[in-house]
């Protein structure tokens, strides 16, 4: 026992003497979680909570244009900036010079065109019903076209979403006009209000349900992505501390000296793994505490602790082991500390980028989403997603554990064979 204690103590002492390593292990994830969560939360709010700035130029001579602007304004989704004095030809440059991302141009014939179309629909209906109506004196106007301008920096799907919203308001106006026209032609007076209300308000509703095994209503937010993501990133960044620690021991001859002693090298490796798994657990405790208690005080979403505690412990342990095993492999393959630090850090950044730590994988192109399967950080993150968003489903976690299990095995075997090749084991 004294031998095991001494070995663990030595690893602990080496760790606490590595001030830069400690800062990377504990300060870096806190800063990353703090900064990136704030940044991404702002972006999240821009789309989901804040109003979308929209420059509107209404040249319509009728009342339907005003109605559309009023609908957009009252929807609460847009912050409408009406600038009716701008010509359509200069709208592009105005959009850019005013720093707006979106603009809508309503043409002069907007109302006339819609009314003409409503009249046509009404006429067809009246004729089909065999009813007479007066069509004399009504000029035919082409169906109007709205022009939608967007800054090229906006994602295409974002622009399409906004156009979809405008389209739905247009449907309200067009249906309303058609009903009014039909009621007028049928001499039914002002009775159209009930039908319009029925048609507009009684549409098929879409319920949004989060796919989760525990009926959780938790939906992904910036905290739930960033807290586990940057914790995993920091876990794997232990490659800088543990990797260079191993290189030092190899290069200094300490490992070879141990070979002449009545001890097993497994004890050395076990001690390193035990201490660094503990470090990883502390990293999780630290960043999760921040997500639970500090981030809400800054107006950011609170981290909801997963209900499946056993699954959470398993995910944390397997992720830690993956990070430790990778650090051992890099430490055993590198010839110098500089190699271990440089290659280790860069490889983690690359693994993080393709693994969905920096940018979620679902916004990546198809081939990059496929490539993310080869990043251990991706599988660790998947494990935390399953915990947070899917109630810690063991069914889904089995894929996470399988991949990470294989990764751990490869790293451990790689380390073993490299050290054996050097006759350290």
């Amino acid at each position: 026992m004294f031998k095991i204690f001494s070995s663990l103590r030595k690893e602990f002492l080496l760790l606490i003497n590595d001030k830069v390593g400690l800062a990377l292990l504990f300060l870096m994830p806190l800063l990353l979680v703090f900064i990136i969560t704030i940044i991404q939360d702002s972006a999240y709010k821009m789309v989901n909570e804040n109003q979308i700035p929209l420059l509107v130029v209404n040249h319509d001579s009728g009342k339907e244009g005003k109605k559309l602007v009023a609908l957009l304004d009252s929807s609460g989704l847009f912050k409408v900036d009406s600038q009716n004095g701008i010509e359509q030809s200069s709208l592009k440059s105005e959009l850019l010079s005013r720093g707006k991302l979106l603009a809508l141009y309503i043409p002069k014939t907007f109302s006339a065109g819609l009314e003409s179309n409503a009249e046509d629909v009404s006429t067809i209906l009246m004729e089909d019903l065999g009813l007479e109506h007066d069509t004399i004196g009504q000029a035919k106007v082409e169906m109007p076209r709205l022009s939608f301008y967007n800054d090229p920096v906006l994602q295409e799907n974002y622009s399409y979403s906004v156009m979809g919203i405008i389209q739905s308001y247009m449907s309200v106006i067009e249906n309303s006009l058609m009903i009014d026209r039909m009621y007028t032609n049928m001499d039914l007076g002002d009775k159209s209000a009930v039908l319009k209300k029925k048609m507009i308000s009684n549409r098929v509703q879409i319920n949004q349900i989060v796919a989760s095994n525990n009926n959780s209503t938790v939906i992904p937010n910036s905290t739930q992505h960033n807290v586990p993501a940057w914790t995993i990133f920091a876990m794997f960044f232990m490659v800088v501390s543990l990797g260079s620690n191993i290189v030092k021991e190899r290069v200094s001859g300490s490992f070879l000296r141990l070979k002449t002693m009545p001890t097993t090298f497994m004890l050395v490796m076990f001690s390193k793994m035990a201490i660094y798994v503990l470090v990883a657990v502390l990293q999780v405790a630290l960043t999760f505490s921040m997500g639970i208690w500090i981030l809400p005080k800054l107006g950011l979403p609170q981290l909801t602790v997963p209900q499946n505690f056993i699954a959470m412990v398993a995910v944390i342990f397997v992720s830690s082991m993956a990070a430790v095993s990778y650090a051992l492999l890099i430490g055993s393959l590198s010839r110098t500390e500089q190699q271990a630090n440089g290659f280790g850090a860069i490889s983690i950044i690359i693994f993080g980028a393709i693994g969905g730590i920096l940018v979620p994988t679902f916004v990546m192109p198809g081939f990059m989403q496929y490539a993310s399967n080869f990043s251990p950080l991706h599988w660790c993150l998947e494990g935390f997603y399953v915990l947070f968003l899917k109630g810690g489903s063991w069914q889904e976690l089995k894929y996470v554990f399988s991949f990470l299990g294989i990764f751990i095995l490869i790293c451990q075997l790689g380390t073993y064979f490299k050290l054996r090749l050097e006759r350290i084991i």
């Binding site: 004294f2 031998k3 070995s7 103590r9 030595k10 003497n17 070879l256 002693m261």
Partner: protein, 249 residues
Amino acid sequence: MEIPVCIEIQSVSKRYKSSQENSLTDVSIDIACADVFGLLGPNGAGKTTLISILCGIIPPTSGQVHYYMNGSQISDAKRKSKIGFVPQEYAFYQELTPRQNLDYFGAMYNISKKRLEVRREELLEILGLAKSADKKVGTFSGGMKRRINLAIGIIHEPEILFLDEPTVGVDVQSRNAIIRYLQLINESGTTIIYTSHHMSEAEEFCKHIALIDHGKVIAKGELEGLKAANHVSSLQSLFINLTGEEYRD
């Protein structure tokens, strides 16, 4: 009365996988118990390779090494607790203090906590490290580091001690302290196998030597006898006579 043999090296050869030539060829030496045995030779002669084989760090390509204690051959497992090894490199943790280093390596030799505490303080005192015992080793001079390197190798009071150039790069004071202490533990019965490029130091310290060159033993035996047989008055002259004056890589 014949002195019993502690280490029997039988026709040991070593060729590294990356090399076309043998690093050691058919080396056979008997080392008596309580001897101070010098393995001497120019750079690249094969001294460190032989010490590495004797300590069990690398296996020989062919040949055998046997260890004896009280007349009986001992197993590899038992050998590990009986030998001490002081490598050329500073093979310890520069981030830790001398106390912490000795505590760790002492525990790896299976020394009990109480015994380790006593032995640790004793060595720190003898080797002049007591005042700096709680400072990080990384800040120490070369001489102090050499003394810590030695202290780690003898923390468990080994019966056989291997020293690979234990005084290289140290000042006269540190060298004196190291050699004096080694003589002291040899007088108490510890067998010492030692390599060095300091011929005057080896001459003063060693009772028997083996001169190795190009992986082969070119001379071995009692130091004074070898000098007389080769009609030289010093070990340095003997060394030059037998190994030549050309530069070695």
